[in-house]
Subunit: 266 residues, 2 copies
Amino acid sequence: MKRQRHKEKLYYLENNFPTPRFLIANDGKEALDIAKCEFGGVAVLKQSYGGYDGKNQYFLSGNVEDFYFLREIKSTFVVEEYIDFDYEASVIVVKDKDKVFAYPPTFNFNQKGILVYNWGPIENGKIVELAINLAKSLDYVGTMGVEFMIKGENIYINEFAPRVHNTGHYTLDAAFVSQFENHIRAISGLDLAPTELFCYAGMLNILGKSDFDPKEVLKYGKLYWYDKREVRKRRKMGHINVVGKSIEEVKHKIYELIKIIYPEGL
Amino acid sequence: MKRQRHKEKLYYLENNFPTPRFLIANDGKEALDIAKCEFGGVAVLKQSYGGYDGKNQYFLSGNVEDFYFLREIKSTFVVEEYIDFDYEASVIVVKDKDKVFAYPPTFNFNQKGILVYNWGPIENGKIVELAINLAKSLDYVGTMGVEFMIKGENIYINEFAPRVHNTGHYTLDAAFVSQFENHIRAISGLDLAPTELFCYAGMLNILGKSDFDPKEVLKYGKLYWYDKREVRKRRKMGHINVVGKSIEEVKHKIYELIKIIYPEGL
């Protein structure tokens, strides 16, 4: 079944999960009108189908006219309040028929709708609780990722992904059993494994790059290379996992790795 | 090059590494004579070639006559003092041209010369130092395992294995980079990764067994199954890794797993 973003948003609303205020538009023209009239031109427009990694999402900061090309689109849109959030965080949940566990939350850094790096654990019991409640509410089985926007004391669910999630790749090295093995355990009826971490950890995505020296990377972390033939702009070519005895150690390694993978800067 | 156990023993002697007292015999007959005259019939006879996992090793506890079949063997033997050690421990060392790291020591439980389980880390700075010095002394590159017999304050090197080692399989789950990846890093000229552990860990070998329920195993640990076609008596068919926040937790999991894999007892 295709993703239907407006149904996801309605689900949050109907089940009292906090999410940014939104309206549903029947087509691009209506979406632009709503953005202008209801949100003063400052809004996020998301096509209901086919959106991931920032695709088919449009950030309007008063410049509604720049997006007139959306008028021609005849499919459903979600028009959402723009949240000037402090940071994004996420929680990876694993659930079988009886049990539900959550890996600790991570801080996520995105650019243009794509995750660049994340690290954790960060302390936020509230989002862990929300993620677990969402998995329970959906009666889900398997691994899922739930993304949150954090603004001061306010928490909003941004979206959830009913699958293993990019922000959970660090679990390959920081947890005894990763999000991947726990997914297989969950859908196979095997016992879920605990999701506790024994160290601090982080992950850097390798976006559209293959011209770095892997030897340099291995000084700081473990390289997961997807061996994709084609290097496209910002395509996920691989990722690097790091661990540390403190969050500072993890941050340091991520920053050193950014210099290696993105010498031109992020 | 074939292993030559007598040369290994002479190396320890010449380089001041502590090892049980030994004599070298030219054949089986001489070995039995030495065992009787020099060690009062209580000794360990090891053929110099082809010995691992307890193969071609004979424990004499005064019963020299029971081993008369060895008189026909024409190759070199090591005749070694029998040490009634308290326990065996080992250290996995990784070394490249410049650096040497050691994973923390483990307690090992063997039966009939084959490792059944191990756990760690245990505290023993002295054997870590000896293992590192041995790797340096040999000018070795790669991963190696060094086995020790511990008797009170006394430490003896039992043997070393110039390769990844069964007592280091736990590093797949308890260290960021395992003995296997560090071996590849070492021999490829890549930077060695740190060998610190973030948790307690253990390993149970699955010896000559395939008739257990893997679902039960997954309640306690991760199953590594070698997919060997033939189940021979005490053949290494796979192993199970466990982790824990304390050594007690690890021991508990190993004991529960023993009930599953070896319901008849060890």
